[in-house]
Symmetry: D2
Subunit: 131 residues, 4 copies
């Protein structure tokens, strides 16, 4: 099976993004700026840009049916910026983000048992507050 098909089948991995980000910074000699708190603030900055896309729109339906292609592409870029800084911050802190995410999914499954949580907004709210 060749590489392209493999990637197509497996999807993009966090490991791969981590390596690409590390190479990117190294090539530009930017490691010196990538301290944990610098990256954290950069991440907050990108969250702000993501929020700005949604700020004057009121509630928008799933799938964003009325958005122009250009707006969706812009959204994809801001979502990516958040992801890329998150991956980089995790790497710089020495956290394996993929493993941590799988572990958190397990914790969430225990914290929110299907039988207890199913379909109830009230429960969802209360449980979320304890999160």
């Amino acid at each position: 099976m060749n590489g392209v098909l493999e990637t197509e089948k497996q999807g993009v991995s966090l490991e791969d993004l981590k390596n690409k980000m590390a190479d990117f910074a190294k090539e530009r000699d930017w490691d010196q700026f990538h301290s944990p708190r610098n990256l954290l603030l950069a991440l907050v900055g990108e969250m702000g840009e993501l929020s700005e896309i949604f700020q004057w729109k009121g509630e928008v339906p799933r799938g964003l049916p009325d958005w122009k292609e250009e707006e969706k592409q812009h959204l994809g870029e801001e979502l990516s910026d958040v992801l890329l800084y998150l991956v980089r911050l995790s790497d710089i802190c020495g956290v394996d983000l993929g493993k941590a995410a799988l572990r958190k999914l397990d914790l969430n499954a225990k914290k929110y048992p299907v039988m207890l949580c199913k379909g109830s907004s009230t429960k969802h709210n209360q449980l979320s507050e304890k999160q």
Copy 2:
């Protein structure tokens, strides 16, 4: 090659996390709460919890050498919460986050050419502001 080794080799994919999040919400009948702006605000909430971990610490060195195991695990959980809501928000908006991230990496490589950016904090700052 068995599944575990395969995952070990490939790392955790965004596609996989997306599917796990979708199953998680479906099982609990939580799709009704997962509108784009609800998820966006949940993401902002998790960014806040991530920031709280770093808030009174002053600058911290890479790799967090002085942090207790417990603190690192907590950090991993908050980084994961940000990731999981980001993956879910992308899915609900109809954005393929993995593809978008690879595309953004390409755009960044063009925006910040190695020759122009290498090692200069001043340039890094200025270029970042235009980002």
Copy 3:
């Protein structure tokens, strides 16, 4: 005219909150923790808590007519936490927040002339993006 009536008439001033926050920190010997970036991250943390209040609610009408008194009080506390850290951050950075805000209001009035902006959502969006 006595002090209470004066305050009642004038409202709460930013100067007053700044002084109260400075006294609060000084009494507890917390100035050592109140560096600009520590306070900024604390502010982001509070923004997260504020967002959590609204995260699973969908769009809510002005005045929050359906909220319980307890929920409104919680909201008041989170809005205050954001304000108090913002006031403190400004003080520690040497910015006179009240003067800066009046100046920004003037800048906004020039940037968004009534004749150009009135009632148009499209213009509001476009102008906001340039903000």
Copy 4:
């Protein structure tokens, strides 16, 4: 005593900013866009812009002695944007922000008694986590 001196003495009040923001929106017919969650997301957007100012700087000393006048003015503008949207959000939600802030200061004084908290970073951290 004339108005200017009075303002000079009292400082800028939250009540005053609230009224100015309400007039600003009314004149431009922007009340239609100022729903609670729209304003909350706008506030998050401004928090992001504020964070961007500090993102690549590493720890900065109090008073920002090395910043150019232009940078300090930019900082004042972003701090003001956060404040102005916070004031507007509070107004639209029916929260008296000044009163809420004074009340929160009282709550904080009870939560962090001077005798218990004085000078201890450990206690400060632990108490903050419970905040």
